[in-house]
Symmetry: C2
Subunit: 260 residues, 2 copies
DNA sequence: AACATATGTTCGCAATGCGAACTTTTCTGA
DNA sequence: TCAGAAAAGTTCGCATTGCGAACATATGTT
């Protein structure tokens, strides 16, 4: 049973019964086969009378069901969760997370999905610095030379990636653009192995970005988030050292919104 | 806000604070954009001080987050739900529901999925009456002449159903078996339009069954449940009048365990 | 049937959560 | 920028709510 933040427990702003009731609900979640009153009392550290009250209240409110001596969760929790998730898009939920990332580094934090040979921006938290590339939700950029594109491509099935590498339109945009298809394949493989990609002035001189993939519960890469910076601000090394851990944490938090 | 069962509210076995806290959580679920304290107090029918306590407790326990004046749910609810669902199979959760159906009619209630040209039994609640067909989890029966097969086939994409109708092994098992491929196609179309299928002595004389499809949140038919009876017990008309509503209710309850 | 175990019930009581009132902060419009 | 309105935060007396111990009943096991 996870403890609440310590400094709130003794406070008059705290409802201990709610906390204990939620803990009982969580214990039920760990026991889909059902639990008896005595088992719950032991596991929750409550008296039988106390555990019984919480179980009966969860049953009365529809969160649990009682069958003989066994209490178990009901699908109401799913209904509530579904209502919540269905009320807004993933990127609405992700926005506060991305906002924290953007604010921490004062740079733009973006999200994109793969569409054909492009990435399409699906969310964008501007930084305070002006980047020359005008970006907004809906903007398309070529996948091959963008950090988000690189990690998205790394999540493609092998045959699809092979087709992409064979067929994609690949042009030199800066002296640093990787235009060799074999070298690009290697860069994508590296992104897959690393779990991130840094694109260093391949799209545009002065522009450097780092991206991580967003995977659903089945492990499929469905989106990417990145931080775009002016290359004068962060070296490649600093990106990996300073930005990557933050971006990874954001990735994990966004992924919590995927259910299956 | 849904009321708890009235006869529990005044009881000493009831924890009102838990109930009110869960109600606050549900209201948050309807407001993914976040809510202020005053909005919550109004909607929950609480004083500001009361609403504030519940919100702060939900935040302290990790179920909600506070950003300035806005409170919103956190993904912890998803984590709990995921833990619960991940701890057992769908058919474990469905078993009590199917057991109620079986007990109501004293007949076997079964669940199956489509596998190739067959249905495979994935769950089975026996009735008290002995049916001559020995069935157990894992049993395969031909899809074309079973009620569950019929509704499962009705959920196939058109091209797959066309292939099935063209290629499937179809044999006469009783004088009532539909063996004409066009007629079978029509029966499957009828199952799709009706949302259920009755198979009347097509598999075996003396055996009649009625099935409904189980669909996931995207509307894809992924399984079926049925009630198998001796044909002497229930006429086709009685099945549709008496069993179908019960089976439909069970379908709805089982479908609540699908998240997306 | 006897016994052990688990659950249900009761009720005195104290602690927990209540809300009203006051204070502080934030927002809005001129 | 300032004044006023609105919203949120804080305090604390108090009553009601939830507590647990003890007893009663039901269920399971040998």
């Amino acid at each position: 049973m996870e403890a609440a933040a310590d400094d709130d427990v003794g406070s008059r702003d705290h409802v201990g019964s709610l906390e204990r009731g939620l803990a009982v609900m969580e214990i039920l979640a760990h026991h889909p086969e059902g639990m008896t009153l005595t088992e719950m009392a032991e596991e929750a550290g409550l008296t039988r009378a106390g555990a019984r009250r919480f179980l009966l209240t969860l049953a009365a409110t529809g969160y649990a069901t009682q069958s003989g001596r066994l209490f178990s969760l009901s699908p109401r929790l799913l209904t509530v969760a579904r209502t919540w998730l269905g009320g807004a898009s993933l990127w609405t939920f992700a926005a506060p997370i991305m906002r924290e990332v953007a604010a921490k580094f004062d740079e733009a934090c973006n999200a994109a999905v793969l569409s054909g040979e492009d990435v399409v921006y699906v969310a964008r938290i501007p930084g305070r610095r002006i980047l020359s590339v005008a970006l907004d939700v809906g903007t398309r950029l070529p996948a091959y030379c963008t950090s988000m594109g690189r990690v998205l491509l790394s999540g493609l099935p092998a045959d699809e990636l092979k087709t992409f590498l064979a067929d994609a339109t690949i042009e030199r945009r800066t002296p640093k653009t990787i235009i060799g298809r074999a070298a690009l394949g290697k860069a994508i493989d590296k992104a897959r192995a690393d779990g991130f990609a840094i694109v260093d002035e391949e799209l545009e001189l002065g522009l450097r970005s780092i991206a991580v993939p967003i995977a659903d519960r089945a492990g499929r890469t469905v989106a990417a988030i990145n931080l775009s910076t002016q290359s004068a601000r962060f070296s490649v090394e600093a990106m990996e050292r300073d930005i990557l851990p933050v971006l990874r944490r954001a990735k994990e938090r966004v992924e919590e919104f995927f259910f299956v």
